[in-house]
């Protein structure tokens, strides 16, 4: 819900008192259909929308109609038809689009979480083809709420449409430095990376990202954002080359896991290792199908299974009890799949 209110519309002179509107008879809202889920409209709202209905009915394309859409939009910025009609008038009357951009800037500042206002801004920029101020503007909004979904969607659109990639990685890095848990910033990092590079090819870039993740995880281990990102990067790396599993990730995990400190026992670390163990063990199980006597493989599976079962127990009873049912279920999967190797 927006924080906009009627106060922003101050009708010095009511429409019915304005000589330039004297030829228009406002259309009142049908009372009968307004008896259910009735909103206690303010007098201003009733008046402005009475005239707006009358204007829509005759599809009047005039300066006064354009002014009216401003009041109507401020009274309810979520009314998409008001914005739609305003855009028609903008084009029809050849209005100054820079002025409109100033207007929508103000409206977004007071309604930053409203869909229609961002949509309107996008339409203006599409007409103007001038994206110069857009990155600054979204940064201003994101300064107030660094996870505003609308602002991020809009920023991605601007960057993609006008190829404004140059400073985006720096911006993202700044945001992640300020708040390593800012998941919107992590998402933007992925957005940048996947558009800039072909991630099915770029070994080097992916390895750089692994280093970045490990540094951030080392700084704050219990951070789902960096772990999710790490998983995605590894998935790409493995696809490039199956034997390319980044050993440094495993080494990092093993060091953290071996400290035995509660602070290091993040559920994200444990579940990461458990999932790794699972996929590795499944691979080895496949190999065992062709060579059933490989003692070494069996021994490895046993090590992975025992380690995983240990972590799953710890997650269920100590480190992540809210998901105990899930961890217990995974443990039962391990026993079912690899139980014969753990004895």
């Amino acid at each position: 819900m927006s924080d906009s209110s009627d106060e922003s519309v101050d009708l010095d002179v009511s429409y019915s008192q304005r000589p330039e509107w004297s030829d228009i008879t406002p259309i009142t809202q049908d009372e009968e259909s307004n008896q259910i889920c009735r909103i206690a409209y303010t007098e201003n709202f009733k008046e402005v929308f009475g005239y707006f209905r009358a204007i829509l009915k005759i599809s009047e394309k005039s300066e006064r109609a354009f002014d009216l859409t401003k009041d109507a939009a401020l009274l309810n910025p979520a009314n998409y038809t008001v914005w739609y009609y305003r855009r028609i008038l903008l084009k029809e009357l050849n209005k100054d689009l820079h002025q409109e951009l100033e207007f929508i800037t103000k409206v977004i500042r007071s309604n930053p979480k409203n869909y229609q206002v961002w949509q309107h801004r996008r339409c203006i920029i599409e007409l103007l083809q001038e994206p110069d101020k857009e990155l600054n503007f979204t940064e201003e909004i994101l300064k107030r709420d660094s996870k505003n979904y609308h602002a991020w969607q809009y920023r991605q659109w601007v960057i993609k449409t006008f190829a404004l990639w140059d400073n985006e990685l720096d911006y993202v890095n700044d945001l992640i430095t300020v708040d390593v848990r800012n998941n919107s910033a992590w998402n933007q990092r992925y957005f940048y990376l996947s558009n800039k590079y072909d991630l099915t090819q770029e070994n080097e870039i992916l390895n750089r990202e692994i280093d970045f993740c490990l540094e951030k995880i080392n700084f704050c281990i219990d951070n789902e954002s960096s772990w999710n990102y790490l998983r995605a990067v590894i998935d790409h790396l493995i696809k490039i080359n199956e034997n390319n599993y980044p050993q440094k990730v495993l080494e990092f995990c093993n060091i953290k896991l071996s400290t035995g400190r509660d602070d290091d026992m993040s559920p994200f670390l444990l579940s990461f290792k458990i999932d790794f163990n699972w996929f590795r063990s499944k691979e080895m199980l496949k190999k065992l199908e062709s060579n059933n006597d490989d003692v070494c493989l069996k021994q490895n599976i046993r090590t992975y299974a025992n380690e995983s079962l240990d972590y799953l127990t710890k997650l269920a009873i100590k480190y992540d009890t809210i998901r105990a049912n899930y961890w217990n279920y995974l443990a039962s999967n391990w026993k079912q799949e690899f139980g014969q190797y753990t004895q």
């Binding site: 906009s4 259910i36 909103i39 206690a40 105990a324």
Partner: protein, 357 residues
């Protein structure tokens, strides 16, 4: 605290207040909710279905007939120019209606909204209506007109905002009307896939951050169009894990965001569809939802000590129903209506299939 939430006397008392809040929603709302002015049909659906889940449909503040008529008043069955370019379906309110004859497009700016059409159908089903006054052909033709090349849909003929929310609305409409021939399912599926993020869940549009509401819309859509099985095992695994990780006490909608009552529904329902809701903690979830309960007005808010609103109230009720809260009717997780209303729909489908001959 947790025991208190399940104490029958307390449950009863809170239900009474919830009923009061929902009844109020169906009568008069304060001007503070003015941005919902174009979404009254959605509000009515929340309130009517909320009462249904509470097993209190007998306490509607209006007669069923008048409510049903009121909803049908929002239907546009005919356009001015005769051809449909995404106009037919339901408006969200009569705010821009100018004529007495409401079921015809009143002027060239009068149009339906996909989410309102979906809400109207859900509310009608909940009220036991047989949908006989629905102009199916007009609505489905409209959906066809609103689908874009990338498979997504816009909400109206005026917006070019297109994202998973409206694809979900369209899937529900096709499911209810029991006709998928006006929507390109393959394209819709590929659009949904493009919204799946590196985190394993879905964003509102391609490349946007994974989000609980979008994830629900995507998963429910895949379920309704019978495409959930087309995801790989690994995709499903990551998706489940992402959703399960959303629980703190209540659920959050994005990674590292605070929990919020509505995600007990968005994420809860997604997990239910994926068959793993039982891996979450029900008591913690129930406990959080009631931390956002308003003891004076009876509704739910997003956070503790915030003002309740109709959306969070309905989402809270649905969230509770999903985790077997006592005295609540079960919901159908993908359609977001009571199982009873869903069964009524199934009966209608049966009748329609018999009537063909």
């Amino acid at each position: 605290m947790i025991d208190e939430n399940l104490n029958p006397a307390i449950v009863e008392k809170r239900n009474e207040k919830l009923v009061k809040y929902l009844r109020q929603t169906l009568c008069v709302l304060p001007s503070a909710v003015i941005t919902l002015d174009t979404s009254k049909v959605l509000l009515a659906y929340f309130a009517v279905s909320g009462l249904d889940i509470l097993n209190k449909l007998d306490q509607l503040p209006h007669s069923r007939e008048s409510l049903i008529d009121w909803i049908y008043n929002h239907q546009i069955s005919e356009t001015i120019c005769g051809i449909d370019i995404g106009i037919c379906g339901f408006r969200g309110s009569t705010t821009l209606v100018t004529d007495k004859i409401k079921n015809v497009q009143n002027h060239e700016y009068d149009c339906s909204h996909l989410t309102m059409t979906f809400s109207a159908l859900n509310a009608l089903l909940t009220l036991g209506d047989d949908l006989s006054r629905i102009n199916k052909k007009a609505i489905l033709t409209s959906i066809q007109a609103l689908q874009l090349l990338d498979g997504s849909l816009t909400a109206t003929s005026q917006d070019y905002e297109n994202d998973v929310r409206f694809l979900y609305s369209a899937c529900c409409i096709c499911y209810i009307l029991n006709d998928w021939s006006f929507i390109d399912i393959e394209r819709a599926y590929s659009f949904l896939l493009s919204c799946m993020t590196y985190e394993g869940a879905f964003g509102q549009n391609p490349e946007a951050e994974a989000h609980g509401g979008s994830t629900f819309c995507a998963v429910a859509s895949l379920f309704l169009m019978n495409k959930l099985n087309s995801l790989s095992k690994y995709q499903i695994f990551r998706l489940k894990q992402w959703c399960l990780n959303r629980q703190a006490t209540g659920f959050s909608g994005r990674v590292n965001k605070p929990w919020d009552t509505c995600y007990s529904f968005w994420i809860g329902s997604t997990l239910k569809i994926l068959g793993v809701l039982h891996f979450t903690s029900f008591p913690e979830n129930i406990n959080y939802i009631f931390e956002t309960y308003n003891y004076v007005t009876g509704g739910f808010a997003k956070w503790p000590d915030c003002n309740p609103d109709p959306l969070h109230t309905y989402m809270g009720i649905c969230g509770l129903s999903l985790v077997d809260y006592p005295s609540f009717e079960k919901i159908h997780p993908a359609m977001a209506i009571s199982q009873r209303a869903f069964n009524h729909l199934k009966n209608l489908h049966q009748k329609w299939s018999e009537n063909i001959y």
